[in-house]
Symmetry: C2
């Protein structure tokens, strides 16, 4: 079965396009934070719906204030007061001013607002203005934020707090988004017992189900726990069939041993509509990773070592989850943190290495301290803030060089 | 009442220590992702609980392989096979080897694992070894990940996927965390109507309730919507009393007009146990921000402009939410993204300016494009990726200079 050569990281990542995004659901706006928009959205009204004051003061015609200064104030007659939340029934003419508070509707005739600080009351009926204003100053025009019909938000973009606010501003209290991809998680291994169980001699608690479910949640998808399958092909097959039925992607972890890896591929091949896409990836850790398609479903065979499984998820699987989640390619913007490497790092050519690092600030410089450690030791991940990738055709990185750190907190 | 001078940003941020973290709750491990640990946690067992193979191959005494090479293989007698999930009943003596798969328990006597790739079967009872191993190679020792009694995780640190995994590895299926701070949100203004309502002439939909609730969720706290209060002191006071009773912090937004700001302070002063901590902050946008303590509760009067309210939340309020949430000061690590400014930015001395920027990559350089725009226009926040702060005693920033961009997506 082993006729596949290990694929490059870039080669595997390009396969994400082979999978289709999941379907849609309609949610109340207040439940839609972080979700991915399923449709383009255009403004259905002008925003703001009327010209508004952005300062407390007097609505005026700017021309009435031209030439005004400390020594030569403009004298304006008070022609009214704008009540908040109401549309003024009067007009502002030349030489006139109307009291207005922030958010008030600009009366017809007015094209600007003089700040209250730049005025003085002459009496109940008049003010002096000590500074001229330009048309449009201290106010926003109708439609200045959004014009009716303008494209607001695009399909495939996630809804951040500001997008939620924009939809609220337009009264869109429901929004259609991609549903969360359902990601099944299945651990394998005769030695693995549920974490809640006290392990007998030779047994070990299932950690990958918990780390992978947490990583899945962090990308906005929905984890489904399918428990533990023993190291027997029939048992594994039964578990895979049941899990795949109910999810968009299945993460099988464990089976790092050569024998188990072989029968994982056998089990996969026996599933209807299965196609092996990658059998091994030239990354470290994570080389034994398997990627397959089963119908429209995405299947991953991840290494059993807890550190390897987490790193493969972050570096390889996550873009596939984002693809299923409906994210547009340019909507996915993980900006790495820039730091300086605190010691030399060697690396083998012909593979992409992922190095755990801890970030440390000293004298205003952010340093990335590499954390060595075997890939079965979870405490090294607890110490780590992020990962540094050493590209395939690089021999290593020098101490002091600038590196991009991909944070593992987000 | 206006005897307060506007406070500096640093001065206000230092006030966070005046508030105490909220109390605790105990959660199932699978619900604890992102929550803040309430107690120090020590390992209650060794991890792994036994010496384990990390490769498929043969458990041996390393000394039995010393001097082995391609031309001079070591000949070892097969003394048994380790079954997964069981403790082997036999020992490995000098010149002996036991079949073992990744994750298997190392038999007594063995101190290392020879990879299967470096062996060849002689017959059913013996192998040849073509490469020597060192003691401890291709295995992890009992307690190598964690020693029983070692401090694992510290109070005040958030639980990421790896910490969840560590707790699972130790069988800790429940964990005591700080409860989520409850943050009340109250909009004010006679012109403000609920977003679900179609506004009459002069009215405008409530946006801040939605953007602030989303920002609160993003920091792991729990928003509580208290609706809209009109511009009357008695109404505002009634709303404030009711809201404060039920939350740890209240965010009042609106009341940017001078009159409303004055009576907000009056209403505050009339509340039992109220103490005004800041009346104005030397930041832009956001200067009219009010901070008070009401008993143990934290009260904020935020500007009404949607952009200002979002920026003040991100730059000023968020550290207070993190303090209430129980986060240790060094557990809060928001690493900014480094970018180069694409044009000059002027700034007034004596205040901290927050500039909205969009990030753009060109020729391998990440550029921060400043987005001008009035603070009432939410579309500028939709275009923005983050904020750049211009420090208080800086006159501005030059085109091409390196800036720290605080992302608004997280």
């Amino acid at each position: 079965m082993d006729f596949f050569e290990a694929a490059s990281l870039d080669g595997v990542l390009a396969l994400a396009r082979e999978f289709e995004p999941v379907d849609y659901e309609t949610l109340l706006l207040d439940q839609a934070l972080g979700r991915v928009l399923a449709d383009d959205l255009a403004a259905t009204e002008d925003l703001p719906p009327f010209a508004r004051a952005t300062m407390d003061g007097f609505a005026v015609r700017a021309a009435s204030t031209f030439g005004a200064g400390e020594g030569s104030p403009a004298w304006l007659r008070i022609c009214g007061q704008v009540a908040m939340g109401e549309s003024p029934a009067f007009e502002v003419g030349p030489g006139e001013a109307a009291r207005i508070a922030t958010g008030g509707v600009l009366p017809t005739g007015a094209d600007s607002v003089v700040m209250i600080e730049h005025t003085a009351a002459v009496d109940e009926t008049a003010i002096e203005v000590y500074r001229s204003v330009a048309p449009g100053q201290n106010m926003v025009n109708r439609g200045e934020d959004l014009r009716c019909g303008a494209l607001l938000l695009r399909r495939g973009y996630p809804l951040r707090p500001q997008e939620i606010g924009l939809l609220a501003a337009l009264g869109r209290m429901q929004v259609t988004v991609f549903r969360r991809p359902r990601i099944g998680i299945l651990s394998t291994g005769d030695e693995i017992v549920p974490a809640a169980t006290f392990p007998e001699a030779g047994q070990i608690r299932d950690v990958n189900s918990h780390t992978l479910a947490s990583l899945v949640r962090r990308c906005g998808a929905e984890p489904r726990a399918f428990g533990i399958a023993g190291d027997r092909p029939d048992e594994l097959r039964r578990h895979c069939v049941a899990s795949l039925e109910d999810c968009d992607m299945l993460l099988l972890s464990g089976g790092s041993s050569v024998g188990v890896r072989d029968f994982t591929v056998e089990v996969l091949s026996s599933l209807p509509g299965a196609e092996l896409l990658a059998h091994g990836i030239t990354i470290s850790p994570g080389k034994p990773t398997i990627l397959a398609r089963v119908g429209q479903r995405c299947f991953w065979g991840l290494p059993g070592h807890v550190v390897s499984a987490m790193i493969v998820f972050s570096a390889v699987v996550r873009p596939f989850v984002e693809r299923l989640a409906g994210l547009a390619p340019d909507a996915v913007r993980h900006f790495p943190v820039t730091a300086r490497l605190s010691r030399n790092l060697a690396s083998a050519q012909g593979r992409t290495d992922f190095i755990r690092v801890r970030l440390r600030e000293a004298d205003g410089v952010l340093w990335a301290d590499p954390l060595p450690g075997k890939s079965g030791l979870i405490h090294t991940m607890v110490q780590a803030d992020g990962l540094v990738a050493i590209a395939m055709n690089t021999e290593g990185l020098d101490k002091g060089s600038t590196v991009a750190v991909h944070l593992m907190s987000s």
